[in-house]
């Protein structure tokens, strides 16, 4: 099994930490992982993205051109990465703020109302965990118990009291994900 994922959105949406939690979950399951962020000016506002690979084998190139899964969280990222999804792959996106929806016919498309659900939860910070939950519902590449371990490892101890809230957010994602187009 090799899952090549890109997560892309605005800086501050928790794109990089979502990738980190996935990577930590992967190593908890003894898988090979790589996490390659966009770094530099994007981090200070504008788009941010991270490529995460989870695999049973040694990972060669950490840089990806094509993805099994693209998790898209803003319009710029949709414009940039829709075409990079492998045929038969998955595109998961939050429709909030999206004007040009995906048009590919050869991929699976799902939506998650992450921003809207986070607003309901009265915590924008759980946004990325809602999206992560949605992804894991469609593709359980790592076990939920290991995601919670990954969450614990990637959060500094002073934030550990927030884990139950994040766990709750993942559950919201699991429930609220919607299929738009399945092959």
């Amino acid at each position: 099994m090799t899952e090549e994922i890109i997560i892309a959105g605005f800086g501050g949406q928790g794109v990089l930490s979502m990738g980190k939690i996935l990577a930590y979950s992967g190593i908890t399951e003894n898988k090979e992982v790589s996490w390659m962020p966009s770094y530099g000016p994007e981090m200070r506002g504008g788009t941010a993205n991270v490529s995460v690979i989870i695999s049973d084998e040694r990972i060669s190139s950490p840089i990806l051109q094509n993805f099994d899964t693209a998790i898209i969280l803003n319009q710029q990222s949709m414009d940039k990465f829709e075409s990079g999804v492998k045929p038969g792959g998955l595109l998961l996106y939050d429709p909030n703020g999206i004007i040009r929806h995906p048009t590919r016919k050869d991929i699976n498309i799902y939506t998650i109302e992450g921003a809207a659900e986070a607003a309901k939860q009265k915590s924008s910070k759980t946004f990325n965990m809602i999206v992560l939950g949605a992804f894991l519902k469609i593709k359980p590449v790592v076990k939920m118990e290991n995601v919670l371990k990954g969450l614990k490892k990637s959060l500094p101890e002073r934030h550990h009291h927030l884990i139950p809230m994040n766990e709750e957010a993942i559950k919201v994602g699991l429930e609220k994900v919607k299929a738009v187009q399945t092959l």
Binding site: K20, A23, Y24, I27, E32, V33, S34, W35, M36, P37, Y39, G40, P41, I59, S60, S61, P62, I63, Q65, K153
Partner: protein, 361 residues
């Protein structure tokens, strides 16, 4: 069980340095390697091992602090990215001339000038051929994984002290910024002056002992006869390093008809290219130099007898390719491919270059 951590290449270097019992780190921040000094500042190793971490006022100051500490036999290091390393070249030449061990890390970004902060491999000439003045060599190690970023700290110091020569880790923005699994070495104690004397010979300026000559660390010798003799001594040392310390790795070379030569993150990308090529029925192999100086010329020359063509792949306009050509010495066609200026080639682009420049060319 060994503890597996998920770390950035830069963080792995920093933690490995603490665990290697490094005495001091002097640096100045620059993207894409600032996590090294940030990690050290956050970890406060002066509390753990007594290791000094200092942000100098400039790159020039940092490299000269390294020079001073190395002269005292200390295990000392610095790190920077390309423009910062340009500033450090004068110091490196002095350190090499004075025959002092130390470790330098270059997390390369696109140039020339301030260039870009994205990954590049265009510092090969500067580091491997000597960016400073005079006939000197750095021992250059090229990690291609986060694990090697950690491992080469200890290896770098080992070689540096063994030969009294600066060693350099030539990395790039990909390996520095990416996170992977890493198993860290156990904590080593920092060495005392006496232990350094005992292990590596009594050359450091740690105070003159009774009954031995004064130890002098200098790169200055105004008498040309003596400076020539010093240069002969250096060249003999470099010969010995070249005989004993070449490191490389091959991947699918046994039956290869076409060879890729690549180091660092390019080697990772080329591994994928080899897989893609073999799926298409092209028998491709990869040789990854681990030491860039000394260079695995003999191994490449030997493979040149077997293969029909060689593609040197690097994120530069063509630097290492010159060493491949020297190694091959005209036996087979050698071409260069690479994106540069901060762009990273994809495995598919490398495959296309192999097909057009070597197989079809």
């Amino acid at each position: 069980m060994e503890e597996i951590k998920l770390m950035k290449g830069n963080e792995a270097v920093a933690e490995a340095a603490i665990r290697a019992g490094v005495d001091a780190y002097f640096g100045y921040p620059i993207t894409p390697q600032s996590e090294i000094i940030e990690y050290l500042m956050t970890e406060e190793p002066y509390k753990r091992t007594g290791m000094v971490v200092l942000q100098a006022e400039s790159e020039l100051a940092a490299i000269n602090m390294v020079y001073g500490a190395a002269a005292c036999g200390k295990k000392v290091m610095t790190s920077s990215s390309s423009p910062g390393l340009s500033l450090k070249q004068e110091g490196l030449s002095y350190i090499a001339g004075s025959e002092l061990p130390c470790l330098i890390v270059d997390v390369v970004r696109g140039g020339p000038g301030l260039g870009t902060i994205q990954p590049s491999q265009a510092d090969y000439f500067q580091m491997v051929k000597g960016g400073g003045h005079g006939d000197y060599k750095l021992i250059v190690l090229a990690p291609s994984t986060v694990q090697e970023m950690a491992d080469f700290v200890e290896l770098g110091f080992e070689l540096a002290f063994k030969y009294r020569n600066p060693a350099l880790i030539l990395s790039d923005g990909v390996i520095g910024q990416m996170m992977e699994k890493v198993v860290l070495p156990p904590q080593k104690e920092r060495l005392t002056d006496e232990e350094v004397d005992k292990l590596y010979g009594s050359w450091a300026t740690t105070g003159k002992k009774k009954g031995r000559e004064r130890n002098i660390i200098t790169s200055l010798e105004l008498k040309p006869e003596r400076q020539e003799a010093h240069n002969h001594h250096l060249q003999n040392k470099y010969k010995k390093i070249a005989e004993n310390e070449i490191r490389f790795e091959t991947f699918n070379c046994e039956d290869a008809e076409y060879l890729l030569v690549a180091y660092g993150s390019s080697a990772r990308i080329c591994q994928k290219t080899v897989q893609l090529a073999r799926e298409k029925g092209i028998k491709a192999g990869l040789l990854r130099p681990i030491t860039l100086w000394p260079y695995p010329s003999k191994a490449i020359n030997k493979l040149a007898d077997q293969v029909k063509g060689i593609l040197a792949v690097e994120m530069s306009a063509g630097q290492m390719v010159e060493d491949v050509k020297l190694a091959v010495n005209g036996k087979v066609k050698v071409e260069h491919y690479g994106r540069f200026g901060g762009m990273v080639h994809s495995p598919d682009e490398v495959l296309e270059a192999l097909e057009t420049k070597i197989i079809g060319g």
